[in-house]
């Protein structure tokens, strides 16, 4: 139900938000309130071309990755996949392929070498690494959960609770 109080509140608070964050356009309360809001249509900017998520897709190249795996450079291979992780992609197959690349690399790295591997991965990529750890937990059949738990522990030690919070909140899922 749209009361005057709600209209005033929304006009103040969300008027600016709608301009910058396009997710709010799908909110059912906002949709219902839009005709009542004192925001003129031209103020709502159209999605800019470079905001379009599908144009910013990177993907790890399978051949490049295989080459690194064959050279036994597992940590370098993992870094490569994390760098080019398809976080902005909408295609689930792309994500699945990249996830299987990342997780199989993680399984190949020995338990004793995991903490060194985590420390050598640059800080911005550690969040993506944590995302892949949680992704691996979803398929305990394919990926050893005990190894993943060790990875989880080591990444947590290197990054702290913040990385888990970022896994839970980040829209760019892996």
């Amino acid at each position: 139900m749209i009361t005057q109080k709600f209209v005033n509140k929304v006009t103040l608070e969300f008027g600016r938000l709608i301009e910058y964050d396009h997710l709010w356009e799908d909110n059912p309360a906002i949709k219902e309130a839009m005709p009542h809001l004192r925001i003129s249509k031209p103020e709502i900017k159209k999605k800019k071309k470079d905001d379009d998520l599908s144009t910013n897709v990177v993907e790890p190249d399978e051949n490049e990755w295989k080459r690194l795996i064959d050279d036994m450079k597992y940590v370098r291979a993992l870094e490569y996949v994390l760098q080019n992780a398809p976080v902005r992609a909408k295609d689930p197959d792309k994500k699945k392929k990249a996830a299987s690349m990342a997780l199989s690399t993680m399984m190949k790295i020995k338990t004793s070498e995991i903490s060194d591997a985590v420390n050598s991965i640059p800080v911005p990529l550690r969040d993506t690494l944590m995302k892949y750890v949680y992704k691996g937990f979803e398929n305990p059949k394919d990926y050893s959960s005990s190894a993943l738990l060790t990875w989880h522990e080591k990444v947590l030690a290197a990054t702290g609770l913040g990385s888990i919070v970022r896994v839970l909140t980040d829209r760019r899922t892996v």
């Binding site: 139900m1 009361t3 709600f6 997710l23 709010w24 799908d26 909110n27 059912p28 309360a29 949680y134 937990f137 979803e138 305990p140 059949k141 959960s145 005990s146 738990l149 060790t150 989880h152 522990e153 947590l156 609770l161 888990i164 919070v165 896994v167 839970l168 909140t169 980040d170 899922t173």
Partner: protein, 176 residues
């Protein structure tokens, strides 16, 4: 103050540590009234009224059978537990035990009456629970629950087989 939860060292420590860390991260909940209906306050993880209010659901598994699903939102967290059930007897015992608890969910406060499909038992913790109870104690409780459930079920299994043996003995004495 309050009874301390007895610390246990178990083989499942990495699993429980991962769960504890994830729960601590997911437990950032605050009051959030419904945007759709005036004067209503609903747990957003159940109602799912808007995508912005939900966190990404996360699974933590120890093996194929034991896993935990943690779904967060702005004012509530839903934790679903899949309990290890090795054979038919354990399946029946687990189902009975969970049903027993879920029927008394009102007194339990944080328990959900029906588990999420594919899981055995679910907790729903809202910001109101977090206001009346300490968040770190709630996390401790969930971990304790996980440890105890396995123990309970194996104890019950032993009790069932010993009772069955005694009954059979008494019965067959008649034919001696």
């Amino acid at each position: 103050m309050t009874q301390p939860v007895p610390p246990r060292t178990s083989a499942h420590k990495p699993y429980l540590d991962a769960i504890r860390a994830t729960l601590q991260a997911a437990f950032c909940i605050e009051n959030f009234e419904s945007q759709v209906v005036e004067r209503h306050n609903k747990p957003e993880v159940e109602v799912k009224s808007s995508k912005q209010l939900l966190l990404n659901p996360v699974v933590i598994s120890r093996n194929q059978n034991e896993r935990i699903l943690i779904e967060g939102s702005i004012n509530s967290v839903r934790i679903s537990i899949g309990v290890k059930q090795a054979d038919d007897l354990e399946k029946i015992l687990c189902k009975r035990l969970m049903r027993f608890m879920m029927q008394r969910a009102d007194d339990f406060h944080i328990l959900r009456r029906k588990p999420i499909p594919e899981y055995d038992i679910s907790f729903l913790i809202t910001n109101f629970h977090a206001e009346t109870m300490y968040k770190h104690r709630l996390v401790d409780f969930i971990i304790y629950f996980l440890e105890e459930i396995d123990k309970e079920i194996s104890e019950m299994k032993l009790a069932v087989s010993s009772r069955a043996r005694m009954c059979a003995e008494e019965f067959l004495k008649k034919f001696n």
